[in-house]
């Protein structure tokens, strides 16, 4: 059985609750490091028909597919979702908008051209918004889709985020089941660049099967290789989402999310090597049993330092983080590499 079939079988056992089509899946505000400054951001997750790749199998760690709608929202529904999301930013006078679906904003099947045009033109009209970031799989990053977006976004900065996850084709294929190659990513990033569109790259620390040390080294290499095409890199820390293959493994003691010490190490090493690249990480679920974590004592503190660094890009924020569990993590780096298919769960 292939990895995709395994993922698909787990997907098909999940039940998706009917949800209102005119309300976004999630909206929140926060702060991000944007082009040298700390800025307010509004993040909106559109409820669309869902990621096409997730529907035919999809990625081993992704539970976002269950945020999709049971039936395709209409153009009006999507615009309504946008307007509801915008309400959350009413107190901001300057902010950036980050748009996600549970798949690709640039996939016409998820967001029809009319909806895309309408939403982008509304964004362009709003003077408070200085930058828009949308996420998409690389196959939808084409000359045509760039033309369409740029036709609306004239005075607003535009950035496309791609979930590359890793620069290793082996890991992306056999551990993540992502369904595209590094070459596909490079092509997409070049199209964006040629159109003057910035590229943000999402990476994934510690997908299944690979050891803590392998995961760490993979991120260091991936940041280096992605930085050629993208000067903003955000490293996601793999967590255990409901209805995923990873959850299936985790329930059986066959997966552990990464240590926070690992991302601290990655940030230090990559930032030192590439000081001009923006390297961030949002430690979602830090300290939880399904999330990235150190020991109970230091997880919160270390996660805060990671968030601080992500905003400041200042390595001083990662200094002086000490805890007894660091010794354990150092041992895990060595031993998890030699456990031959049974991850060290501590």
């Amino acid at each position: 059985m292939s990895l995709n079939t395994t993922v698909l079988e787990i997907r098909q056992r999940q039940r998706i609750k009917p949800t209102p089509l005119d309300t976004p899946s999630a909206v929140w505000t926060g702060k991000d490091h944007v082009d040298g400054n700390v800025e307010n951001t509004l993040t909106m997750i559109f409820r669309t028909s869902g990621c096409w790749w997730g529907r035919v199998g999809g990625c081993t760690m992704c539970g976002y597919v269950y945020d999709s709608a049971h039936t395709s929202p209409s153009v009006d529904d999507l615009v309504s979702q946008f307007q509801k999301a915008m309400d959350k930013a009413s107190r901001f006078d300057r902010f950036m908008v980050k748009i996600f679906t549970s798949g690709s904003f640039l996939d016409e099947r998820e967001v029809p051209e009319d909806a895309l045009s309408k939403i982008l033109s509304l964004l362009e009209k709003d003077d408070r918004i200085f930058k828009v970031v949308v996420e998409s799989r690389p196959e939808f990053l084409t000359e045509a889709s760039m033309d369409l977006c740029l036709a609306h976004l004239k005075d607003t900065l535009f950035e496309v985020a791609i979930g590359l996850e890793t620069s290793s084709d082996l890991i992306r294929k056999h551990s993540i089941n992502k369904g595209f190659t590094f070459r596909d990513y490079v092509r997409a990033a070049k199209v964006a660049k040629a159109n003057g569109v910035a590229v943000k790259t999402y990476l994934m620390l510690k997908p299944p099967f690979i050891s803590e040390q392998q995961a760490l080294e993979d991120m260091v290499v991936s940041v280096r290789e992605a930085s050629v095409y993208s000067n903003v890199i955000s490293i996601n820390l793999c967590n255990v989402q409901k209805g995923t293959f990873i959850e299936h493994l985790w329930e059986r003691g066959e997966y552990r999310s990464p240590w926070l010490w690992s991302i601290v190490e990655i940030l230090k090493r990559t930032k030192r090597e590439l000081p001009n690249v923006i390297i961030t990480s949002d430690p979602v679920g830090a300290g939880a049993k399904r999330g990235p974590r150190n020991c109970k004592e230091c997880s919160g503190r270390v996660a805060d330092a990671i968030r601080a660094f992500s905003l400041s890009q200042d390595l001083h924020d990662l200094e002086g983080l000490e805890c007894d569990c660091r010794h354990m993590w150092e041992k895990v780096l060595v031993l998890d590499d030699l456990s031959f298919g049974s991850p060290i769960l501590e």
Binding site: M1, T5, S168, I210, L335, S339, F340
Partner: protein, 610 residues
């Protein structure tokens, strides 16, 4: 197929062996896990495809390592470890990677390609701590799919508490991963379980670490120094347990040790029971006889392979002598039964009627022991915890054995000189089969009254066929021959005109003044002469076929063309080649002889050139 691993002693699935690398490593052994990355180590991991990212690189890495390390250091081939629940996505090209020369280890994945190796590593073994069934299934699957003479490495699972069981299940190589991680969590390991250091009031160990430091000092130390000391203690405990287990394999009583040790954790007890259900897996490595005691200390002794094998062989191979009266007797603490005080009294009470009766002894855990087999392992070797109360499982097992016997073999009269639980069993079986049993005991079986009653009842019932003293001795040798070599062997080795010489129990059977067999009292088995071996060739059992050479002393496994898979370690075997015939004792099972490329197969006693 291996040049780098040799098994020289077995006990069930457990074994003692040697990894023949630049340094000889005695197995079972515990690897310090970190040393697998050490270029000066004896066993080295070539690494993972996850980090090397393509098979070509992995191949180059392997080549480079081999030229650096030489042939006599074991290289774990580049792997792409998944977890047990993952679908099989390992590229075939990776599985094709090999090393034409030199010692190699392979990660074994269920359902994956099977290629030769000196050592197999069970992928994801550590996931199955606490999951007896899954672990056993994976280990048995690996063992069935790979050669007997390869070492088995179970990574990331060993603790002092489970080490004995893992070795009993067949592990040759274990590691220190769990012991190290425990130390970094302030966990103090013992063979009787683990303790949080904070909860201890003293250090329950006298290893070098524990005598060098007090608990208080340990608790006050900084974390890293404490972790290092705890790690050393945890490994010390594991090493001590390992040494003990190796001794237990040598002395042939690992089962007794595991039977006790497994009570530490329910999953280990479950594992013992599940393994017993895999009778053939354990039995094929269990020597046919031992000269040590077999202790039946727990209810789980009823299912141990020695007990089940004895009962099965009695059921399948035993033919009673031609007599019309059966006497059922209780077992005795002293073995063999016939030298016990109680059995001496029974014999005296029977007097001249003894010739007419066939005696069968009822016992737990063996079920029933026909008098002819009372010397045969483990009948003369077991000891059991006696309380006088039989539990339901014991009663069910023993009555089942008796019922099987009585439904197969018919007598004109059945006497039972038994009391207590033995009597209940006899009554149960008599009821079930509609048989009449004459009970002769009136209270205690050795009371004057009971013995008189036995004598009187025997006098009334003992008519019909009887057995002379010589025939009785011959019947014993015949029964042992059938037990040992299968039905029909007794008739061949102890034909009707045999003469039996020697005092009990050192019987020897002669045929026309030529010695054929000798009874070995400490095992209760037969040793066969070369003439006996020649007679046995036609029986086609326990035959080891060799090429056209004249063997001397011992036969090594590579010299064996084919061997009867029924052969067990310690069995008497008949060596047959174009130029010679011989007889000796098996040092490994028949299947191992056929497939192994290393190790002593047969200790020869006699050879005759054709």
């Amino acid at each position: 197929m291996t040049r780098y691993f040799e098994v020289y002693q077995r006990d069930g699935a457990a074994r003692k062996g040697r990894l023949l690398l630049d340094r000889t490593i005695e197995t079972p052994c515990i690897l310090k896990t970190e040393t697998l990355k050490d270029h000066n180590g004896h066993i080295m991991d070539a690494g993972s495809l996850w980090e090397m990212s393509n098979v070509e690189k992995a191949g180059k890495r392997l080549q480079q390592l081999r030229s650096e390390l030489g042939e006599d250091r074991l290289i774990i081939l580049p792997h792409m470890c998944l977890v047990p629940e993952a679908p099989d996505i390992v590229p075939e090209t990776l599985e094709m990677l090999g090393s034409n020369t030199g010692a190699i280890g392979r990660v074994y994945r269920k359902g994956g390609a099977i290629k030769a190796a000196d050592m197999y590593i069970l992928e994801g073994a550590g996931v199955f701590e606490n999951n007896a069934k899954a672990l056993m299934e994976r280990v048995l699957d690996l063992k069935e799919s790979t050669a007997d003479d390869a070492a088995l490495y179970l990574p990331n699972i060993c603790l002092p508490e489970n080490l004995a069981m893992l070795v009993y299940m067949g592990a040759d190589v274990l590691d220190t991963t769990k012991a190290t991680l425990a130390a970094y969590k302030d966990i103090y390991l013992t063979h009787a379980g683990s303790f949080y250091l904070g909860s201890l009031s003293e250090l329950p160990c006298r290893c070098s670490v524990c005598v060098s430091v007090t608990l208080l000092e340990l608790k006050k130390m900084d974390r890293i120094s404490r972790a290092q000391l705890l790690e050393q203690h945890n490994i010390n405990v594991m090493e001590a347990e390992l040494a003990l287990v190796r001794e237990k394999i040598s002395s042939g009583n690992l089962r007794e040790y595991v039977d006790a040790q497994c009570r530490i954790r329910p999953w280990l007890t479950a594992l013992l029971r599940l393994l017993d259900r895999e009778y053939l897996y354990l039995e094929k490595g269990t020597p046919i006889a031992r000269n040590t005691e077999m202790l039946a200390n727990s209810g789980d002794s009823l299912t141990r392979p020695e007990v089940v094998r004895f009962a099965r062989r009695v059921q399948e191979r035993y033919i009673p002598p031609e007599l019309d009266v059966l006497l059922l007797l209780p077992c005795s603490a002293k073995k063999p039964y016939s030298i016990s005080q109680s059995h001496q009294k029974f014999s005296l009470a029977l007097g001249k009627y003894r010739k007419f009766v066939h005696e069968v002894i009822i016992t737990s855990p063996l079920g029933i022991v026909p008098r002819e087999l009372e010397l045969t392992y483990p009948a003369a070797h077991y000891d059991i915890a006696v309380t006088g109360n039989w539990d339901a499982e014991e009663t069910k097992w023993v009555s089942g054995c008796l019922e099987d016997y009585l439904s197969k073999h018919k007598y004109n009269a059945i006497l039972a000189h038994v009391d207590g639980a033995y009597r209940k069993i006899c009554e149960m079986v008599a009821n079930r089969l509609g048989l009449e049993i004459h009970f002769t005991s009136t209270g205690s079986v050795t009371s004057y009254e009971s013995l008189r009653n036995l004598s009187k009842t025997a006098g009334e019932l003992c008519i019909g066929r009887k057995l002379s003293e010589t025939k009785r001795k011959a019947a014993m040798l015949k029964a042992i021959a059938d037990y040992q070599f299968g039905k029909g062997a007794g008739k061949i080795l102890v034909p009707d005109n045999s003469e039996i010489r020697g005092p009990f129990p050192r019987y020897q059977a002669f045929c026309e003044n030529t010695q054929i067999v000798t009874l070995i009292p400490q095992y209760g088995t037969l040793a066969v002469t070369i003439e006996g071996a020649e007679m046995m060739v036609s029986h086609n059992s326990h035959i080891v076929r060799i090429d056209d050479f004249i063997p001397k002393g011992s036969i090594l496994a590579p010299g064996v063309l084919e061997a009867d898979p029924a052969i067990r370690q310690g069995d008497e075997v008949f060596v047959v080649g174009d130029r010679a015939i011989g007889v000796g004792r098996a040092r490994m099972s028949g299947k191992e002889m056929s497939v192994s490329t290393k190790g002593q197969a047969v200790d020869l006693r006699h050879v005759k050139v054709k």
